[in-house]
């Protein structure tokens, strides 16, 4: 395409946008609302994922070894646990180590337990990790019945609830996002259809004097892209400042929180890029769907 022609297409696209002002405004607003929600959802989902994977890393099954078990039996048990499918590692933690950790994790109050060092009431423990954290439930159930096992412990409720919440919110969020995207696309398609109907005669003449389909398409594509990009401006500004604000609030107010949110940069920049891209795609898509039948002259 010649540079001159490219300039012309932009002028025409902007003219189209200005000519049906209210419809353009409605489409831009629809994109704005959509992208705002998409942005919030994406930010939530990604952070949920991040937190989830941090917690997942901590998910483990603690296998309490029977106090009467001899070293040989312990070794046999270890072999057996390692033989269970989906188990990725089995680590031995002696009762002395266990007590040390407990005292340490309790800080000052833990010192009171120091006296127990002689009469350690704890068990020796196998710490079992699975390749996929969701498998801990299954593995725990199986290991429970092995010989020399006194009991197994795992964060049953936490794990199960966490996965349920994550799956549900992921699905609901995705469903909503897809619905919203289609709505916005439909509105853009309608706006552009109005432009095209208004210029039907012009398009017919263009085709009759030998204009290519792409020559005719460009201004409408540009119109769609402009609607998409304009619609992304407000959501991006709100999300960049909003996320920065929330991140700062949470990290300064709850510095001891055991989870880490995604850092502001580069996250918000990636999010902004994503929103502009989505805006452009629904704009282009919208104009393509509304143009198809008008080019058949």
């Amino acid at each position: 395409m010649k540079l001159r022609t490219f300039g012309r297409h932009w002028k025409e696209g902007i003219k189209n946008l200005a000519r049906n002002g209210w419809m353009s405004f409605a489409s831009v607003s629809a994109v704005t609302v959509t992208l705002l929600l998409v942005g919030v959802f994406v930010a939530l989902l990604l952070n949920l994922n991040e937190v989830g994977s941090q917690i997942e890393d901590d998910v483990e099954v603690r296998v309490f070894i029977d106090l009467t078990a001899k070293e040989q039996q312990q070794e046999a048990l270890k072999q057996k646990i390692q033989g269970v499918p989906k188990v990725s590692s089995v680590t031995f933690q002696s009762k002395e180590e266990g007590l040390k950790q407990l005292i340490k994790s309790l800080g000052d109050e833990g010192k009171a337990f120091s006296s127990l060092e002689k009469e350690n009431p704890l068990n020796d423990v196998f710490i079992v990790k699975t390749a996929n954290p969701q498998d801990t439930i299954e593995v725990a159930k199986e290991v429970k019945n092995f010989k020399s096992v006194e009991k197994v412990e795992y964060a049953k409720d936490t794990v199960e609830r966490l996965f349920k919440v994550m799956n549900v919110s992921r699905n609901v969020g995705l469903g909503l996002i897809i619905g919203l995207l289609f709505t916005a696309m439909f509105l853009i398609a309608n706006t552009i259809k109005i432009t095209i109907v208004a210029r039907k005669r012009e398009i017919e003449i263009m085709k009759l004097v030998g204009a290519t389909n792409w020559f005719i398409r460009w201004p409408f594509l540009i119109e769609g892209v402009l609607i998409g990009v304009l619609g992304a401006v407000i959501p991006i500004s709100l999300l960049v400042f909003g996320y920065d604000y929330i991140y700062t609030e949470i990290t300064t107010r709850y510095p001891t929180l055991f989870i880490d949110l995604l850092p502001v940069y580069p996250f918000v920049l990636q999010l902004a890029g994503l929103l502009v891209l989505i805006g452009m795609i629904i704009g282009v898509w919208g104009s393509f769907t509304s143009m198809r039948k008008f080019l058949r002259v």
């Binding site: 001159r4 012009e202 003449i205 004097v209």
Partner: protein, 228 residues
């Protein structure tokens, strides 16, 4: 220049508009297409610039077999064909100059080239002094001259006109005929579908008469042959 071999056209609604036409039109000819309303004249013409495609048969324009033409090659075909309509098809918000220049802009001609060619075309149709007028400010005959100027501004090999005088009073119609003859004299092939008996009988040219989608007559210096 234009050749049709056993061409048929049935519209999707079942109307058989063209039923087995064989025709050959040479470069530089001036041809009238006559026949009663609904005979298939417009359909015949539309197939030449590929607004309609034949159901069956072969059409060759300027050496190009239209059945082998891909959709994206149609613009190139049309750049060699000028088309004029009974209702002019001018853009009301553009001036006379802009309406003609439009045809060159959309095929990406350069600005200076556009200016030069539009002025030449305006000169040919004697409307140089009305270049800045809007179509509504012109008479019917003048509007038709603008649409002819737009059709010929990129020097097409053939000018196709569908009842170009249909909306004009007789006197104005003669003026348009003078213009079409002048364009023909410069070497452009001219095809004209018409109902105008007086013109056909006075300015003697080849006459192709179409009835019920078939060629009823084809005479070198023909007569209109119907009661107008």
């Amino acid at each position: 220049m234009i050749e049709m071999k056993d061409v048929w056209k049935t519209y999707p609604n079942g109307v058989k508009a063209v039923n087995g036409i064989d025709i050959k039109i040479d470069k530089g000819e001036f041809v009238y297409i006559v026949g009663p309303s609904g005979a298939g004249k417009s359909t015949f013409i539309k197939m030449i610039y590929r607004e309609e495609r034949p159901t069956k048969g072969q059409i060759v324009v300027n050496g190009t077999d239209l059945s082998k033409l891909k959709e994206r090659q149609v613009p190139r075909l049309r750049r060699h064909i000028g088309i004029v309509f009974q209702d002019f098809k001018l853009l009301p918000k553009l001036s006379v100059y802009e309406n003609i220049a439009f045809a060159l802009e959309v095929i990406e001609e350069s600005k200076p080239n556009i200016r030069k060619r539009v002025m030449e075309a305006l000169d040919l149709v004697s409307l140089k002094n009305k270049a800045r007028f809007l179509p509504d400010e012109l008479s019917g005959g003048e509007q038709q001259r603008v649409s002819i100027a737009r059709a010929i501004v990129n020097n097409p090999d053939v000018l196709i006109t569908d009842e170009p005088t249909g909306n004009l009073d007789p006197e104005t119609a003669w003026g348009i005929m003078d213009l079409l003859e002048e364009i023909n004299n410069k070497g452009t092939t001219v095809l004209m579908a018409t109902h105008n008996k007086e013109i056909v009988n006075t300015i003697k040219k080849r006459v192709i008469a179409i009835e019920s989608g078939m060629i009823a007559r084809d005479e070198i210096r023909g007569e209109y042959g119907y009661e107008a």
